[in-house]
C-alpha cells in the first residue's frame, strides 16, 4: 500500500459545499471577463473546467483563492467568504493548494526548500517537521532522489510533480489546478496526470482547468464548460460527454475529441 498523497486533517464536516461561487462577475477595465458565474464544488468532488482559450476558466479558478480580485458576487471557501475585508486572505490561501501552468517553482531554492518554505513561513512548522512532510510527499510523487536539486535541473513533468507536492505540503482542503499539463512536452503529460488521478481517488476536493478529457472521463464528477466568461454548461461527467446540451459545448467537444 502506498501512503496517501492527501494528508489533510479533515475539518469538522462542512455544512455547505467546499467552494460556493455565486454570481461572480469580473471586469478588466471595461472588458467583462466573467459574467454571473455560479457553481459549487462539494467535499471530495473533482470538477473539471474546460472551454476555449480566453473563456475565463483560469480567471474563474483564480477567484477561488482571490489571486484575481472580482467586483461582483461572492465565493465562499469552506465557510469563509473570499470577498470580505475581514477575511485573512493569506490564511485562507494557505488552505487552498494551487498548481500553475508554468509550475512556478522558486528557481533559487532547492526542491527541498521549495517544499518547506511556506510550511515554515506560513504554517509556522519547524524546519525538521516541514522537511519530513515535504520528503514524504516528494516520495509519493516519485522524486525523493531529487530533493537537493534545483528546479532548473528537472524536466517539466518533474517540476510539475514537485509543484503538486509543494501545494500538498500545506495540507490543503481543496486543490486548484490551472492547466497543469498545458506547458508540458507530450511525453510528460502522463506522469503528472497519474499523480492527479491518484489524488482524486484518495478523495481530494479538486477544481481543474484542463483540456485533458481523458482525465475528466476517468475521475471527474462534474464538468463545467465555459465560453466568453460564462458558465455555459455545468453537468455531471456522463451528461456532459453523453449529451452536452449546448451547441457551444458540443462544438468544443467535437473539436478537441477529433484528434
Amino acid at each position: 500500500m502506498r501512503a496517501p498523497l492527501n494528508t489533510s486533517s479533515a475539518p469538522a464536516e462542512p455544512t455547505g459545499p467546499m467552494i460556493a461561487m455565486t454570481n461572480v462577475s469580473k471586469w478588466y477595465g471595461d472588458f467583462k471577463v466573467l459574467t454571473n458565474c455560479t457553481t459549487s464544488v462539494n467535499k471530495g468532488e473533482v470538477v473539471v473546467v474546460c472551454g476555449p482559450s480566453g473563456s475565463g476558466k483560469s480567471t474563474l479558478i483564480k477567484c477561488v483563492n482571490a489571486l484575481e480580485p472580482f467586483q461582483e458576487g461572492q465565493v465562499v471557501v469552506d465557510g469563509t467568504p473570499v470577498r470580505d475585508k475581514r477575511t485573512n486572505l493569506p490564511k485562507l490561501r494557505a488552505r487552498v493548494g494551487m498548481v500553475f501552468q508554468h509550475f512556478e517553482l522558486f528557481p533559487h531554492l532547492s526542491i527541498a526548500e521549495n517544499l518547506t518554505l511556506a510550511q515554515v513561513m506560513v504554517l509556522g512548522r519547524d524546519r525538521g517537521a516541514a522537511l519530513d512532510s515535504g520528503m514524504t510527499l516528494l516520495d509519493r510523487v516519485g522524486l525523493s532522489a531529487h530533493a537537493k536539486k534545483f528546479p532548473g535541473q528537472l524536466s517539466g513533468g518533474q517540476q510539475q510533480r514537485v509543484a503538486i507536492a509543494r501545494a500538498l505540503a500545506m495540507n490543503p482542503i481543496v486543490m486548484l489546478f490551472d492547466e497543469p499539463t498545458s506547458a508540458l512536452d507530450p511525453e510528460m503529460v502522463g506522469e503528472v496526470l497519474d499523480v492527479m488521478v491518484q489524488l482524486a481517488r484518495e478523495g481530494m476536493t479538486m477544481m481543474c482547468v484542463t483540456h485533458e478529457m481523458g482525465f475528466a472521463r476517468k475521475v471527474a464528477n462534474r464538468v463545467i464548460f465555459m465560453d466568453k466568461g460564462e458558465i455555459v454548461e455545468d453537468a455531471t461527467k456522463d451528461d456532459f460527454f453523453g449529451h452536452a446540451r449546448s451547441e457551444r459545448a458540443q462544438n468544443f467537444l467535437s473539436k478537441i475529441l477529433q484528434h
Binding site: K62, L67, P90, F100, H102, E104, F106, H108, M121, L123
Partner: protein, 240 residues
C-alpha cells in the same frame, strides 16, 4: 614641453607635514573608499525600498517611488551636492542648521548622504526592472501558498531580482565610487582632491594624476573581481 619628471616625488615629504605625498594620496584613497561604501549602504537599502514601492499594487506607494526617482535622478549630482551642503543648513530651522554647519567631518557626512540618495534613485530603477522581469506567476505562486506580500518579496521575488540585476548593480557601484570625486567641491579630501593638492604643492601634475588614475583603476578592478565572485557564488544550479 618643458616638464621636469620626478617619479620620486611620492616619497618626498608633503608640505602638510604629516608624511609623504604617497601618504597623502593613500589617505585620499581611504576617504574615497569609505565614502563609497557608506553611501552604497544607503543607496542599496533605500534604492531597494523605492524600487519595491514602484512594483507594489498600491497607487500611493507607486507615486512616492516615482516621485523619488524622478527627483533624484534628474538633478545633476553636483547641484545636489551643493544643495545638501550649502542650501540645506540655511533652510532648516536655525538650530539644526548651525548644528549641521558645526558638525565635524561635515563634507564626509554630506557626501555620504548625497551620493546615497542620488545612487538610490538609480538602484531603485534596476530593482524595479529586475522584479518586473520575473514571470508574473512567481508572485502568484508565493501568494497562493499563503505568503504575505512582504514574505513573497523577501523570499521569492527579491532573491531572483537581485541575481538578475547583479551586473548593472556592479556598474552602479562603480559609478558611485567614481562619483565620490564630486565631493571635492564641498571639501572632502578624497583621492581626486588629494591629487589636486599634490599638484598644487609640487607642480608634478602628471605624476599626481597618473597615480590617482592608477589607484581608481585598481580599486575598480578589485570591485569587478568581487562582483564576478559573488555572481558565481549565487549562481543557481541548472540555470543558464
Amino acid at each position: 614641453m618643458n616638464y621636469n619628471w620626478n617619479w620620486g616625488i611620492f616619497f618626498e615629504a608633503s608640505p602638510e607635514g604629516t608624511g609623504t605625498y604617497a601618504d597623502m594620496l593613500l589617505s585620499g584613497l581611504t576617504w574615497t573608499i569609505v565614502t563609497a561604501l557608506c553611501s552604497w549602504v544607503i543607496a542599496f537599502l533605500l534604492g531597494s525600498l523605492v524600487g519595491v514601492m514602484r512594483t507594489l499594487p498600491n497607487r500611493a506607494a507607486n507615486a512616492v517611488g516615482t516621485t523619488y526617482v524622478e527627483l533624484f535622478r534628474n538633478i545633476p549630482l553636483l547641484v545636489q551636492m551643493f544643495l545638501w551642503y550649502f542650501v540645506l543648513p540655511e533652510v532648516l530651522p536655525e538650530q539644526w542648521g548651525s548644528w549641521l554647519k558645526q558638525l565635524p567631518n561635515a563634507p564626509f557626512y554630506t557626501a555620504v548622504v548625497c551620493l546615497g540618495f542620488f545612487t538610490a534613485s538609480r538602484v531603485a530603477e534596476q530593482v524595479r526592472a529586475g522584479i518586473q522581469s520575473l514571470p508574473r506567476g512567481q508572485k502568484m505562486a508565493g501568494t497562493a501558498l499563503g505568503l504575505t506580500v512582504g514574505q513573497t518579496y523577501r523570499h521569492v521575488l527579491l532573491p531572483n531580482a537581485y541575481r538578475i540585476i547583479l551586473p548593472p548593480l556592479t556598474s552602479e557601484f562603480l559609478n558611485n565610487l567614481k562619483n565620490t570625486s564630486v565631493a571635492l567641491t564641498i571639501g572632502l579630501l578624497e583621492l581626486t582632491a588629494r591629487a589636486r593638492a599634490m599638484q598644487e604643492f609640487s607642480f608634478q601634475v602628471f605624476e599626481a594624476f597618473t597615480a590617482a588614475t592608477i589607484l581608481y583603476v585598481i580599486i575598480n578592478v578589485v570591485v569587478i573581481f568581487i562582483s564576478s565572485w559573488i555572481e558565481r557564488r549565487v549562481a543557481i544550479p541548472g540555470s543558464r
